[in-house]
């Protein structure tokens, strides 16, 4: 199983630190989220792991060895800035990308054609890239990233420009790669995708690591601080008969689909609220203790400079 280790990596441009002593580790069979607001240093970090840029200090190891051009063939990289040769035929571009990744022999083209068929673009191989829609080009780019069957896959915003059907297609592809034991680094701003796909995450802000761990761990440990910072307690979603907003400890009520989202006082736990409602004779058809979303944590962390709460690794 492949392993990627980033250890105390530092990179500065023109005296401005883009990546500031960042460390993390990713293993095969894992989808690892690399998060951070725009300009946080994610792309620099990715470029360093790709050996496109070298860190000023620190180490980046692939399976215990320094990341060098010798590892290029083991890595598939889908950059945020997409790029294809627009005036060339799709198959020619894919063949070139494949050969640059060390694919040899006469079947590179055949494999490229098969890969195109797997994303419903089998008939487009002999067309010029600029004849394809943006979404199609995005799929061609993903095919080019995975054509040489890399051990390590780095996907920077893989869902941008895709419709829901193709988003699903890519998600399934990521699931298959994970199942096959590949190491996947996923960088995206779409927090719902991160929650759905990632096993662990690291969040970078202003070049520094601000969050690191499993999604569940981060949410569990981060939620109280977030609620405290917002001066409120838990949020519960309730549907039924009765004046829920009038109960003691309910700070705010707002519609949430057919139900109502209630913000509770910081000292009122969801289970106490439920007991109170039933005790008041209200009918409850749906009750859900709404957890803190990763997006809330992201926004909170990205907009503050307070130290992380105890227990969350930085």
């Amino acid at each position: 199983m492949p392993q990627l280790l980033v250890e105390d990596a530092v990179k500065a441009y023109d005296g401005k630190v883009a990546v500031d002593h960042v460390s993390f580790e990713v293993n095969g069979g894992e989808v690892f989220g690399l998060l951070g607001p725009n300009g946080a240093g994610k792309t620099t970090l990715i470029r360093m792991t790709m050996d496109i840029l070298r860190p000023d200090s620190g180490r980046i190891l692939l399976d215990g060895l320094p990341s060098t051009s010798a590892n290029h063939d083991r890595v598939g990289y889908l950059p945020e800035e997409r790029g294809l040769y627009r005036k060339q035929k799709v198959l020619d571009v894919l063949e070139y990308f494949g050969r640059l990744k060390g694919m040899k022999g006469g079947d590179v083209r055949r494999k490229a054609q098969a890969a195109l068929e797997s994303v419903d673009l089998g008939e487009w191989g002999k067309k010029r890239v600029d004849a394809l829609s943006k979404g199609m080009q995005q799929k061609v780019q993903i095919v080019g990233t995975l054509l040489h069957d890399p051990d390590i896959v780095v996907l920077d915003e893989p869902f941008s420009g895709l419709d829901p059907i193709n988003t699903r297609l890519v998600k399934d592809m990521i699931a298959r790669l994970k199942h096959a034991g590949k190491l996947i680094v996923l960088s995206t701003h779409q927090m719902d995708q991160v929650e759905e796909l990632c096993d662990r995450i690291v969040m970078i802000d202003r070049g520094k690591r601000v969050l690191y761990g499993t999604v569940r761990e981060i949410k569990r440990k981060y939620a109280p601080e977030l609620r405290q910072a917002a001066g409120r307690g838990n949020v519960v979603i309730v549907d039924g008969e009765g004046n829920f907003a009038g109960l003691a400890g309910v700070l705010e009520a707002r519609p949430s689909g057919p139900a109502t989202a209630l913000t509770l006082a910081p000292d009122l736990l969801p289970e106490r609220f439920l007991e109170q409602a039933i005790g008041a004779g209200m009918t409850i058809s749906h009750f859900e203790a709404s957890p803190t979303s990763l997006e809330e944590i992201f926004v909170h962390v990205a907009t503050r400079s307070a130290p992380a709460p105890a227990g969350v690794t930085r």
Partner: protein
């Protein structure tokens, strides 16, 4: 060589030679040259239609009474044998044209025919018995003025090219009886200089103009080719790189291949396309015809050595131009940044005379050991036949080392610069890239 360098080279080669611009340039150039020659010959023919074949005769109306006619022909052009062969070959090619007639007339001389008066002379001119009428007025001795009645204003007209024979006739006439004929001959041609050049073995041997021309055709040809290759090749290269930078493909490429292999692969692919173009032109007989007409035999040693300098120079300048160009944010910027090096390539040209007259002099030697000026200087020195073998070997090795060093540093610049989108780096920033990257 790394496999990926070859993958890049193959792609660059294919994408270049299948480009319409390249195809039109390659196959269209000989056609264009042919058409150009055709148009020129048509213009000359139409001019020829106005001009009759030269008569080789000029009428003289001597009102001053000083001209002495001896019935002979005045020939002024002393042509070395080698040059005469070239002129003959050119004359055959241009057979029937007024240019050929003029050359023939120049070589065989002009017969001056006396006329009693201007009317008779002009009537003979009208009948095309003579090609021009010169009237020597009464006050010729005081003024030196002579009037010519020419058939046309064409550059090939007899009036134009019989001026020197007339001058010769007048000098002979004016000095007749005052000076001995040998002295007159010296007045007309005061110094026929034979240049002797010191050989490697210390002996002195004559060297004519034709010999120098013969020796320098190959180096000159390669210098011109080098300039064209650098300008066209680097232009194509920068266009490709700017496209990769602008459409962001470069990030995918650089995650697959290191910058040095990428740069080298691109240069080799484009260089191969350039050589193929040259090969096609050669087989289309463009160059052989030119050389044949010039009557010049090529020295295989000079050709091989010049080819080596050409290839290394292309790689050196291509590397530098592309790396410097990559700093630019768009194709136009990139072209401008890269242009500096093209100027460096032709820097030895102002020293050409110095290099040719003293091929082993200090200036020539200094320019030979500066990598940027070495290729053109050394090609010229090799052409003179004076450059020692050890210097040829040493400068070739130096050039090869320079290519390796340039590739190393250019790759650093290239890699970092290509990832900077829409931002022009500062000079200190560029130096930091060169150090770190």
């Amino acid at each position: 060589m790394k496999g990926k360098t070859l993958v890049v080279a193959r792609r660059e080669f294919k994408s270049t030679v299948f480009r319409w611009g390249w195809i039109i340039g390659t196959f269209g150039m000989p056609v264009f040259v042919g058409l150009y020659a055709l148009v020129i010959s048509l213009i000359i023919s139409s001019s020829a239609a106005k001009n009759e074949k030269p008569t080789g005769k000029a009428g003289v109306v001597d009102l001053a009474g000083i001209v002495r006619f001896d019935g002979g022909r005045e020939t002024v052009v002393e042509v070395p044998d080698a040059a005469r062969r070239m002129i003959d070959a050119a004359g055959k090619l241009a057979s029937g044209s007024p240019g050929a007639g003029m050359i023939e007339s120049l070589l065989s001389g002009t017969e001056f025919v006396p006329f009693a008066d201007q009317e008779a002379a002009l009537a003979a001119l009208e009948r095309k018995e003579i090609g021009v009428v010169f009237v020597v007025p009464k006050d010729y001795i005081e003024t030196g003025k002579v009037t010519a009645y020419d058939q046309s204003s064409s550059v090939f007209s007899e009036g134009r090219h019989t001026k020197l024979p007339l001058r010769q006739l007048l000098v002979k006439s004016l000095t007749y009886g005052h000076l001995d004929p040998p002295i007159v001959a010296r007045v007309l041609d005061a110094a026929d200089v034979d240049v002797l050049v010191k050989n490697k073995d210390g002996s002195w041997a004559p060297r004519g103009l034709a010999d120098i021309v013969k020796r320098l055709v190959v180096p000159m040809g390669f210098t011109v080719l080098l300039l064209v290759a650098i300008l066209v090749g680097s232009g194509t290269m920068i266009q490709g790189v700017s496209e990769e930078k602008e459409n962001r493909v470069i990030e995918v490429i650089l995650s697959s291949v290191d910058a040095r292999s990428l740069l080298l692969g691109k240069l080799l692919g484009l260089g191969a396309a350039g050589l193929l173009q040259l090969g096609i032109w050669l087989t289309m007989a463009l160059v052989p015809v030119v050389l044949l007409v010039a009557g010049i035999a090529l020295s295989p040693f000079t050709v091989i050595v010049c080819l080596a300098y050409f290839v290394l120079a292309f790689l050196l300048f291509g590397t530098l131009i592309t790396a410097t160009g990559s700093i630019g944010t768009n194709a136009k910027d990139m072209q401008q940044y890269g242009m500096f090096w093209s100027i460096a390539c032709v820097a030895p040209m102002p020293f050409l005379e110095k290099i040719l007259s003293e091929p082993n002099g200090t200036a020539a030697r200094i320019l030979s050991y500066i990598p940027l000026t070495s290729p053109v200087t050394m090609m010229m020195r090799v052409g003179t036949g004076e450059a020692p073998l050890w210097e040829i070997a040493l400068t070739l090795v130096l050039l090869a080392v320079s290519v390796a060093v340039a590739l190393r540093f250019s790759a650093r610049l290239f890699r970092t610069a290509l990832l900077m989108y829409g931002k022009r780096p500062s000079i200190p920033e560029i130096f930091r890239w060169l150090r770190q990257a």
